[in-house]
């Protein structure tokens, strides 16, 4: 933990914005939703999840250390396992265990 005060402020910010996003449509879009808003609602989630994957891997250094091999192997495993079984919890659990083992045993 870095600073409890700052953490509290960040939690408040996350909470207020999440609540605002959930409540706003009920207050604003009672009849006609602007097309631009509808459009973003359709496509934004796809781009943002892709961005979050990159965000999670932002500190991977391909040039030194383990060269990102544990990350690459584990991500690949999650993708294949999920395509095969479509079981969210299984994919996350196996992927994480694989990663934890890789960074302990080989890298």
């Amino acid at each position: 933990m870095i600073d409890a005060g700052h953490s509290l402020i960040l939690i408040a910010v996350m909470s207020v914005i999440t609540i605002a996003l959930r409540v706003l449509p009920f207050l604003v879009f009672t009849k006609n939703t602007p097309k631009a808003v509808m459009y973003l609602g359709d496509v934004l989630p796809y781009s943002i999840i892709a961005m979050l994957v990159v965000y999670c891997l932002k500190n991977v250094d391909v040039l030194s250390g383990s060269h990102g091999i544990p990350e690459a192997v584990s991500v690949l495993l999650v993708i294949l396992l999920h395509k095969w079984r479509h079981n969210t919890l299984l994919s996350i659990l196996v992927g994480t265990i694989c990663y934890m083992l890789l960074i302990r045993l080989w890298f």
Partner: protein
């Protein structure tokens, strides 16, 4: 008699909430362990799950807290990660119409999972008030999430184990969502663009500063390709 009506609502909501129970308890536990690994007590997990109640965002939130992110970047991140909730609300305006004051709680608790349960064609039995059903479904789901995250946090704070690499659960969660979206998306352009833009911004701006430019470029890019994408059909 009023209590009786509540119990009927609870009884109708409980079996419907069971699939979410499994998911929320496990994902919540993962979140709690992650938060504990960064040195936060179970009270923090409780606070976040009560006041934020958004799965992906709380995983990202752990990172924001631990890295001491600025208020601006936390705000922008929340805005981008949770923007989809705007659209959940839009499709629930009608369903939540006659809920009275409990509508406020139902709006607050409209997560991906609650949304998907309410989107299904299921209708509660005739003697159950719809508002009771929606209210208890939301409440049960949040209880599962809170229980999971507190359990995880207690485990993470008491059982001393080498937690190096637990962070990967967040990566795995987003990769799983990515795969699911990839399979059902009508156009893969938004996903590919999100990936490409973020990677380019990561290379250009570095790990500490790439998020905000990525978000801006993604939003601009999506509007640029509006005609090409399925949503462009809305112009007709």
């Amino acid at each position: 008699m009023k209590n009786n009506a509540y119990i009927k609502g609870l009884k109708a909501a409980f079996p419907r909430s069971l699939p979410v129970m499994a998911g929320y308890v496990v994902l919540g536990t993962g979140f709690g362990i992650l938060l504990a690994a960064k040195g936060y007590s179970p009270w923090w997990a409780l606070l976040m799950s009560v006041t934020i109640f958004a799965g992906s965002m709380q995983y990202v939130g752990v990172d924001l807290l631990a890295s001491g992110a600025s208020v601006i970047s936390a705000a922008l991140m929340t805005l981008m990660v949770n923007a989809r909730h705007l659209f959940y609300g839009i499709s629930m305006i009608d369903k939540y119409k006659d809920m009275g004051p409990r509508k406020w709680y139902a709006m607050f608790g409209l997560t991906d999972e609650t949304y998907s349960l309410l989107c299904s064609d299921y209708e509660p039995p005739k003697d159950v008030r719809k508002s009771d059903y929606i209210f208890f479904l939301t409440l049960l789901n949040q209880c599962y999430w809170i229980i999971g995250s507190v359990i995880g946090s207690v485990i993470g704070n008491t059982v001393k184990f080498n937690s190096a690499g637990v962070d990967f659960s967040m990566t795995a969660l987003f990769v799983v969502i990515f795969v699911e979206q990839w399979e059902k998306a009508e156009s893969r352009l938004p996903a590919v663009m999100g990936l490409a833009v973020s990677l380019i911004c990561l290379l250009v701006f570095g790990a500490e500063n790439f998020l905000i430019p990525s978000m801006i470029c993604i939003a601009l890019g999506l509007f640029l390709f509006r005609k090409k994408l399925k949503g462009g059909a809305a112009d007709d």
